[in-house]
Structure formats: structure tokens, C-alpha cells
Subunit: 239 residues, 2 copies
């Protein structure tokens, strides 16, 4: 029985209903949020003079709000500040799927397409708090170590948000699914996983002597799987 | 002196000129092609009824043509088949840049935005050859091991292409650049690299006995760096 206190899942709309391979479509809140929360970057699509633009940018989620930021001088953000419709897409590549015919080769992936209207976070206090939460979301405790944002920097930064109006997720997992006759072929088949991992940290050349290595950043160890780390951080498990 | 036999670099246009942090903008053919060739996935943006859509999809480059494919039943491809303008964006996340103020935190990345008009590859022979080249581009020699595409599968697949009309790349590399006073802070700063690597292969449960492990796939070894492998394959170095 569904928990009556949890918010309802998203409803497929004509725009978000996954039609092709519809068994890959997902609309439940946990799946959608987990895919968003495991990502660092999104691709924001918007329209200027009838033409499409897709800009990769950092983003984060708070409830049903998605946030991204950038320079107040950016053409993208100046345009989005007008309150235009956006499609914010997130994708994770999880593995190459090798089948016994070209047609059945595939990719394991998780993706979300979220539709909404871009809005500027204009209020100075809300903007400062939002930007600080973004630092904290990736690097818990780091705001206590770094210099706070200055009025000039705040002015030079635009914080955008959107409420998720419509959304769908699409997920493929598992091995190849071949035509029955093809299983007889002398051909390797299976999945070659693809992983996004943390590499060996490179300290700044001007690092102050005595500062402990990766101070406060133990949640980003070499070899760590980034999407898992980001997802844990979003659930407050990385601090 | 430029080699007079090599094609000219791309020319920045009002749509592609990188304005914000313009020192990060790149328009030379080598940089643009290297970023495209190192990627497996792109995000294709298009407009339906004035609204933006961004779909993640596999793609590949041949000269100044970009190709992507999918089901003939796909809403995205049916729409794109009408010859609509698209923005095909590729991004690589290379590292988290940790600075001594929130404002100077950044991301090392490589991205390309390519603009053009989507076109269907309608000719059956050209379509078959294109799809076979895509298999070969990722898995050299594999077409000799797998079953060829059937007429039904060919019909069920749509192959799209676009010529790159306008394009720009944007690249950030290196460590944090802090305000002079902030270097005195007791704060770790530097770069935490992010890497996309090959994981341990998972053989299909119905793998035919006697088939050598990862037969013909030695270019995708566990631990291999995927963007480097893809780039080498595109230059014909992975075979």
C-alpha cells in the first residue's frame, strides 16, 4: 500500500510519456530523483528565435526545484531570465551492451527529461543561501573554510531555478536480448560497464603549507564512484 | 604557416561566439573534432511547437557530418526527419576545481555545441553502410562476427545526419584561480579529476561455450579511459 504521506508520483503527459520501448519509461519520484541526484551536469535546452540551444551546466535539486547558475553576463542565462520554457536533461551511461546482431547492440543508461519554466532567483538572501547550499551539497562543511561570497560576486552571478512541471525517466539495464537463432553465433556478447570515478587529487601549486591533504573532502576518495557519491550526498549521507 | 591543404578552421558566428570567459572558446577543427570523437553520447536539442526538447543519444562523426540513429517509431526521430534545426551538444567532465571562495570553484570540462539541420539518410545502401560503420567505429572487426542487419531491422531503424553548419568548443583546464588575499586561507585547494573508465565485463548468461573472453574487444580493457579509447578509435588507432 502506498504511504499516504509521501507525495504522489509524476504523471506521464503527452510530452513525457515514453512511447518507444515504453517498458523503459519510469515516472516514480524515487527513480526520477535518484537519476537527477546522481548527476553533476545537466544539459539545458531552450529556444531563441525559434532555434534550439543546448548548454551543459552544473545543476542541483531541492525537492521539486532544479537549480543552475552562471555568469550574469551569460547569453544563456540572460535569455532564460525572461522566464522561457526549458527542457533539462540528465543522462548516465552505465554500459555498452554487445549483442549478436548490430540491431540488438545497445547501451545501458539512466536518463531524465524534465520540463519547466526557467525563473531567476532575484532575492539576494535567497540567492546567497542557494549558492551556499550548492557548495554544501557537493562539499559538506566547506563554507566554513572558504571566503564568503562578496556583494560584487553575488551581483555577477545569476541563479536560475525551475519547478519540475512534467518529467519522465528512461532506464535500460541488463544484458543483450538477441534473436533466438543468433545465440548459436561464435560471438562474445555481454555488457562492458562504464564507470565515472574520482581520480588522484592534484593539489594547487600555491596550497598553503600545513593544510591537510583533501581536508574535509574525504567523501571524494580516489577510485570513488561519482554518481554513487553524489546520490549519497543528496540524501545527506556523505557528511 | 598553416598547411594549405588542410581545411580551414570553423568561423565563430553570432550564434557560436563564446562571449562569457571568451578565453575558453575554441573554433579550431582539431579541438572541435577531438571533443566530439572522444564522446559516446550527445544531447540533441530540437523544437516542437515552440518548446525545447533535449534527447540523449549515441552519435558519431564522419568528416563534418554527425550521425545518430534510433527507432523509426521514435517521436524525436519522426520530428527530426522533417529537416528541423538541431543543436547537438557534447560535454566531458574532467575535474572538480576547488578554490578558496565559492565564486572561484569551477569545473574542468570540454564541450562542443554544433548547429545544423537534421536530415534522414533515406537511401537503403547508404543507411546500411552508415549503421555498419557505427558498429565498426566502436568495435572494429565486429561486423564479421555478428549477424548482418535484416530488411525488417533496417526499416525499423532511422539514421539521421547533419552537416556541422556552425560550431564552438569551450574548454577549461588547470587549477583554481583565486583572489590574491584568499591564498592565505587554511583551505585545501586543487583539482579532483573525474574519469570515465571501462569496468569489468559481464559475459551474457547465454554466451556460447568456447567463445574467447572479449573476443575482438581488446581495445576495451578493464580500467581503460573511455574518451581516450574512443578518440583513438576515431583516428583508426584502436584496431
Amino acid at each position: 500500500m502506498p504511504d499516504s504521506t509521501s507525495p504522489p508520483d509524476f504523471v506521464p503527459t503527452p510530452r513525457t510519456r515514453v512511447r518507444r520501448l515504453h517498458e523503459r519509461g519510469r515516472y516514480d519520484r524515487d527513480t526520477v530523483f535518484a537519476i537527477l541526484d546522481a548527476a553533476l551536469m545537466c544539459h539545458v535546452g531552450y529556444v531563441i528565435d525559434g532555434l534550439p540551444y543546448v548548454t551543459p551546466t552544473l545543476f542541483w535539486r531541492e525537492g521539486e526545484h532544479l537549480y543552475w547558475h552562471g555568469s550574469s553576463a551569460s547569453r544563456m542565462l540572460r535569455k532564460q531570465s525572461e522566464g522561457i520554457p526549458v527542457c533539462l536533461t540528465v543522462s548516465h551511461v552505465d554500459g555498452l551492451v554487445l549483442a549478436r546482431s548490430g540491431f540488438h547492440h545497445s547501451l545501458n543508461y539512466r536518463a531524465v527529461m524534465a520540463f519547466g519554466t526557467a525563473a531567476v532567483v532575484a532575492d539576494g538572501a535567497a540567492k546567497t543561501a542557494g549558492l551556499n547550499r550548492f557548495v554544501e551539497r557537493l562539499y559538506p562543511g566547506r563554507n566554513r573554510q572558504i571566503r564568503p561570497i562578496s556583494p560584487q560576486e553575488l551581483k555577477a552571478t545569476t541563479l536560475m531555478s525551475m519547478v519540475i512541471d512534467e518529467v519522465s525517466a528512461k532506464v535500460r539495464t541488463g544484458g543483450p536480448v538477441d534473436d533466438e537463432d543468433d545465440y548459436a553465433l561464435d560471438c562474445w556478447a555481454g555488457v562492458i560497464p562504464i564507470e565515472t570515478r574520482i581520480g588522484a587529487a592534484i593539489p594547487d601549486e600555491r596550497l598553503k603549507p600545513g593544510v591537510p591533504a583533501l581536508d574535509g573532502l574525504a567523501h571524494l576518495p580516489e577510485g570513488g564512484v561519482l554518481p554513487e557519491i553524489l546520490h549519497a550526498l543528496a540524501r545527506g549521507e556523505g557528511e
